[in-house]
């Protein structure tokens, strides 16, 4: 089995690692870099818990091999808050709107909404719900998540 040296940027910092070919990006982030915010729910691309940004676009980290991320810029949930630890507007909105209970789906929700709100700063509720179809939540019934997304959109528009 082949081993590969990969160099990539994760949350703005350069990282290097040596990985077996079959190690997924999710496993590399979690086990290789200790960034356990990216969760594994299904490992076949349907639950969205492993969603991260690669070159600014959401991907399923469980469906990408770490070797494929060579030379890429990866953003995980750990990269959302400020260096001081202050939550960003989206995270704060989740906090304020009960957008999470157990928190397992939350990193994936946040990464999906990060891309979505960047592309759609003024979404309708229907558009938010459509955008979240690729992220499953077992706890909340999605109401708090949708409210958080709309609230975050409002805050981000005000900041802009």
């Amino acid at each position: 089995m082949s081993s590969h040296t990969i160099r990539l940027t994760v949350n703005g910092r350069s990282c290097e690692g040596s990985v077996e070919a079959r190690i997924t990006l999710a496993d590399f982030l979690r086990d290789g870099l200790g960034l356990t915010g990216t969760h594994l729910g299904c490992e076949h691309g349907v639950c969205g818990a492993c969603t991260v940004l690669v070159d600014g676009h959401t991907v399923r980290a469980c469906l990408m091999f770490a070797a494929q991320a060579n030379g890429r810029e990866v953003t995980t949930v750990e990269g959302l808050a400020a260096p001081s630890g202050a939550l960003n507007a989206l995270q704060q909105a989740f906090h304020d709107n009960h957008g999470l209970q157990c928190g397992f789906c939350t990193p994936g929700m946040l990464m999906t909404l990060t891309e979505f709100l960047h592309d759609n700063p003024d979404p309708s509720e229907a558009e938010v719900r459509e955008a979240l179809t690729g992220n499953l939540c077992r706890c909340t019934g999605y109401a708090g998540i949708v409210a958080a997304a709309l609230d975050a959109a409002r805050r981000l528009r005000q900041e802009a």
Binding site: H4, H44, L63, F65, Q68
Partner: protein
Amino acid sequence: MKPAAFDYHAPCTLEEAVGLLAGLDNAKVLAGGQSLVPMMNFRYVIVDHLVDLAQVEGLRSITVAGGALRIGAMTSQRELEFSPEVAQHCPLLGEALGHIGHRQTRNRGTIGGSLVHADPAAELPAVCAAHDAEIEIASTRGVRAVPFRDFTAGFMATIVGPDEIVIAIRLPLWPAGHVHGFREFARRRGDFAIAGAAVLLDVGPDARVRRAAIALCGIASSPIRLGEAEALLTAGKLDAAAIKSAAAAARTIESLSDIHAGADYRRHLAEVMTRRALADAARRAGISL
């Protein structure tokens, strides 16, 4: 679940890629990975080699030439979704893309990968069937072009050999002003289609149908063209009655049956999706039903 061990190759040229496939045993091509990697994670698919096409030059492109839209096989579904050329020249493709999986899978998934994976429920093969697409396939022996109707070969199989790579898809363009419809039934948004209909119509100013193409996904192992329905519509006036009888032709096809839906239900859905897609197309042609 973790995949079994394999060797990973990342060639930079097509020549290198086909050379690798010709020489390696039990190798598979990696395109977007959105269908293949889940199967590897389940260990349904166990390969000794993966040949990643991500860095092969010349496989990502969208060009209009010679009356066709030529799409490089590694073009992502996302790129197609946001492409002005697709929106202008192949609106059926544009509409079908919104039904494929989710944003996160479309960001990585490719058109070539979807066609070669050949899931019976997949939308892109249905669009290719409706357009009578041509598939360009490369190997160490050169490039061959295969019409889409000869491309599929049974359940989740195509005529692409183990040492071949799909490099491009050509969609012959329909006349400017043609209309389209795409309707899919799935239990949840982004789920595999239980039945889907892709429709292309060229309608004259007198509401007469000059040409019709209707392709169904989810019903059989690969997309079906409803030849009878197309014949019923052609040269006739496009109205509610014509749509109803064309859609009824969908009831006579042989259908798959599985835990998601039995054959009868799929046939029923095929008729309903065909009728709705035709109605969408008619509305786009300015015909009130």
